[in-house]
Amino acid sequence: MKIISTLTILLLIMILVVGCKSKAEPLTIPNAISLLQNSSSSDQFYSVTPNKQFDFPRDHGNHVNYSTEWWYFTGNLKTEENRHFGYQLTFFRRGLPNNNEKRESKWATENIYMGHFTLTDTTNNTFHQFEKFNRNSFNMAGSSDKHLDVWIDKWFVTTDSNNPLMLNVSAKESGISINFQLESDRDPVLQGDNGYSVKSRKENSASYYYSLPRMDTTGIISISDKNYKVKGTTWLDREWTSKGLARNQEGWDWFGLHIDKKIDIMFYQLRLESGDIDSSSSGIMINDDNHIQLNNNSVQITVTEHWKSSQTDIKYPSKWNISIPSEGLELTIKPYISNQELTGIFKYWEGAVKIKGTINETPITGSGYVELTGYQ
């Protein structure tokens, strides 16, 4: 669940359209929200409606009739010596309002892309983060409308020509690079109501949302010319929509968790300005082939610790107890390292977490990713 973060980030690109030595005043969420309201004035984009028939691999590709879309890869990996790494590689597409005029300049663009690439090096307690923007002019950034191909500059994901569920993921920046092969043995999991994911009942906001929750990942991580052969699991989230954040929503906490015994859990809770949790908060638990829908009432989340960023002074939750009583699940979630805050144009926390707990009183462990936005 990245909808709000994505929309906000993409809108912030607009606000800070011109780079300013990255020392521009940070924009507050209310500002971003007000811009968000303005942005939906364009009628050129389609609305998200229920009962969509998903069509793969086509739906892995782009949907330019919707204003916003993203490809969100997060994963936990280990070397043979058990050295842990976390990674995030995300691509956002934003359709721009235009009046369908034929433009002469090849720089003219209808879509812009943003990328975030992070690498968590647990052993060294280091978090590497990079941010990129580009337009789809000259194919400097872009995505396919047939299968999962998406790129921005030298960061890219391509689909194997023989298997639409086999991907190559590659990114390189300032001496840090990843080069992974991803393969899913499961078909895409449709989130919400068959892929129709309500984000605010009050404002009738929704997105199309599916995941490839457990992709086997192998490849090389390279840090300053030193290569690490790694293996692990990646979670891919795909979402597209034309509508933004509701006025009363402040931020969200998103959990994507891989637990042994092939249990995968995704849950997001939308925090309201009032301090309550939006009833649209939801998720899914996949236990083998069982898909269990989760909602605000079936999941209980308690924050037990906080961490304050010395760079932004923002205080984030940093330890949680999650329980899903109906499934006999009790989990304690803790970041691998505290500082996994992204401090680019939009500030948020997204990082690798380790999981300990019990299912029906049997001990379990796991790893996952958590995203925290809207904190101040």
């Binding site: 011109v18 030595k21 235009n98 090849k106 720089w107």
Partner: protein, 848 residues
Amino acid sequence: MLLVWKSSIRYLFRNRTYLLFSIIGIAMGVSVVVAIDLASKTAGNTFKFATEAVVGEATHKIIGGPNGLPDKIFKDIKFGTDVKDIAPIVEGIVTISETNKKVTLLGIDPFSEYGFRNFNIINSIESQNNFDSLLSVPNTVAVSQAFLETLSDDTSFQLISDDSIQNVQIVGIINPTNSINQIGFESLIITDISTAQEILNSIDILTRIDLKFQDEISSKKGISQIEMIVPSSVSIIPSGTRQKTVNEITKAFNLNLTALSLLALLVGIFLIYNTMTFSIIRRRNIIGILRAIGVTQKNIFLIFISEAIFLGIISVVLGVFLGILLAQTLLELITRTINDVFFAANVYQLQIDLFVLIKGSLLGIIASLIAAVIPSYEATRITPISAMIQSNRETSFRKILPLVSIVGLIFFIAGCILLLLPLSGIEISLLSLGCVTFGLTLQVPACTIFLLKAFNYFFKNIFSTLTFAAVRNIGASLSRISISIAALSLAVAVTIGIGLMIGSFRSTVEDWLNYSLVADIYISPPSVDSGQLQKSINTTLIQQITNLDEVNYVTKLLATELQTTEGTTQLAVVDSNIQILSESINLKKGNNSTVWKSFFTTNAIFVSEPYAYKNDIKIGDNIQLPTISGLKPFEVIGIYYDYSSSRGVILINRTIYNNNWNDIRVTSLALHTETASNSKSTIAKIEKLSKPYHPIEIQSVKEIKERSMDIFDRTFDVTSVLRLITIVVASIGILSSLIAFQIEKEKESAILRALGVTTNQFQLLTFFQTSIIGLISGLVAIPIGIIISWVLIHFINQRSFGWSMELDISFWIIIQGLLISILASMCAGIYPTFKNKSESISKALKQE
């Protein structure tokens, strides 16, 4: 001691009218200095900030050959090298319809802009358009708040680019991240690079690619990586190069103006000296008495220095105020000249720099002090006895006169030596000019005596005794009047000097235009500004024009720019025949009989005189130019006279150019028509032919000459204003001296009037005296003026711009100077004349 100060205050108060004129004189001197300083600093800052706003933090830039930079190169570099900070730019000059101001249109790729330019863009509140339309909707722009305020509509405006009017929507406000450089954004429109390409008609072409390297090592590595993948016609140069070129050009221009302003202050110094000397003479008796009652020399000195400081302070306050007012006018003139000659930027508001004001004030006060030291020292030398001897001062003045002349001579010789030294700095030249001028001005008193003697000799039998007495009277008060004459002479000499220089420059340019414009009709696209690609003329149209019956021959020209490590080099590519070329190009150096053949057949070039001067190029030297196959040497076989560019031009033959640059564009045509044909009807025919094509300007040789001379004259408007001010300052000097002179002569005139000289006769007498003073000043000013112009032409201008010109001593300019001198002097005489008339004879006599 109180008594001493009281006497000083009372004196100042009693002579307030006279003092007022002195104060105004000094104030005007200070005001000119302050005004020039403020105006040129404001203009300079604006241009600097405007360049900084556009260049930002870039350390290097990639620029294309004559055909510009294909935008594909950007992607090649971005993906093919490790260079991270790289930003494509499309930039050009457009005119705002409403205000008719030229501004820079800067097209950027926001996604490449990290860390390059110091601004961000915020949503325009007024705009109904969403801000992100800047990226996707055509003709959307962002402007600064200051720019917005110059428009009547804050949502959209019209701009003229490439001769077509376009409507643009304001969707964003430029918000500088550094408040100091706010001014840099006042003449800037920012758009997405796509919009800039469309508005500036620069599809597929970039103006440049900005690069930012953190250090020397990364820049070396980055540049070598880029050089490996880009074509060799592309060059990578440091970003400051353009700024450097502009700085050098405007520096010479500003220095010339500053020198002129200092001359005005020099006139002011003469005034203070005059005022102080006069006030001391007037108070000889008082000083004598004070000394007799025991006031020390030190106290006397202090009194007079304090008076000078007091005068100085009042004058400076007034001067600074006047300076700010004057600066506004000058700013417009300076900006216009710089825009005409160099590049576009608008100055909306005068920046009042406190430092400039303090500097001007200090200069005024120090000048007052310097001018007051000698008279104050003289005052201390007055003993109670010597105070009683009236003629003492005149006698001592005559005694020191040879010394004054010798000091003057030393200054003059020192100035000459400085000029002839092989130091080429403009500052040194200006200093030498100052020395020469000052040295000559010190000869004025001696010359005055000589001229008065000559007058006496020639006129003693012609005029009445009374008239004769008037002339002799001047001679008797030489110690006072000669300073005024020197001040007026200096002002008039400067006027004559600059007048002659401009006149010579003008006639040289006119001659050059007549020499080089040998064709009958000239065709070119509407003029564009530097940094923009000159539009070429359609080849079909060229063919159609060539085929016209009236047209005998067509010379084809291409004006383009090459980027070399030294900066932008202007290149003129000519396609013509030997006969026309040898007729229209006036060689300064080069063998006229052999160069033409080499010009057509070998890798040879001509360079213009300023180019040769600035780059120290001699015949036979080789210049490395970036061709499509890399750097190649071109031999300089001729240096020719050219006044079209102070930066200098390289002239190359078309065939040689095509072989090396593979560029077939033509940017202007010169048509040689049938002698019998009417150029108007030919122009009409060409206009008809050109309708389907990109607009072109067709001008007869007459029109082009007129236009060139118009621009020339506009360039020197600033100097005219300054010359006028200097004359006014000098006239005030004369006025205050004359008042002093008349006050001195009160007794004598009362006696004359008591003896039966009528008021009319008396007025005539005064009038005659002032005219003689004006005449003498004017006569002395003529040789000084000629020398000044000679120095300006052969040293200052040569060293500032590299142009050589012939001194053309215009009789009219000299007569003009003489008339100005006499008129100024006569005007200055009006007030004392009437003052004298109203003075009661008995009161004046009673003073005895």
